[in-house]
Symmetry: C2
Subunit: 93 residues, 2 copies
């Protein structure tokens, strides 16, 4: 029997995914926040857009290309490509 | 009459605010996303946390300390300090 340890081959990674409404899509929630801020006296706030911020913790085993997996998850599950854009960054622990 | 133009004294800035649930607070939405991902075969996703991502567009006039304003807005309006944490970064245009 042989045990084969590859250091750093299986650890954890974090992916931060940012999902935002596309520019031309109305954002009633953002509009409501903007109005609330104006009422509270923050007159220099010109625009507010509310999106989602999702943190994924992934097992970073060498067979998987984390980048490709996170892009696929973002496109298929976390965002609606008709009305939303997404971006992400990956932090390896 | 005198006109006084200070270049760059009044322009726009963007603030990206990230609001997340505190670590010890249960996140049913994140749990649901995680289960959906497992069902779809993404077994290497260990944890999912869903937060908010808010983009503020601010008029950056010199009287206001943008940093202090964004911190105040994040604390008072965009997050619930009992269960949520926030962080932000500011991009001057």
């Amino acid at each position: 029997m042989k045990s084969h340890v590859v250091w750093g081959a299986s650890n954890m990674a974090h992916a931060n995914v940012y999902v935002t409404l596309k520019k031309d899509i109305l954002d009633p929630q953002g509009e409501a926040v903007k109005n609330a801020l104006h009422t509270l006296g923050y007159k220099n706030v010109m625009d507010v857009r509310v999106g989602k911020y999702i943190v994924l913790t992934l097992e970073n085993n060498s067979e998987n290309d984390i980048n490709a997996v996170v892009e696929e998850i973002s496109k298929k599950v976390l965002s609606n490509p008709v009305i939303e854009d997404f971006s992400f960054d990956i932090v390896e622990d």
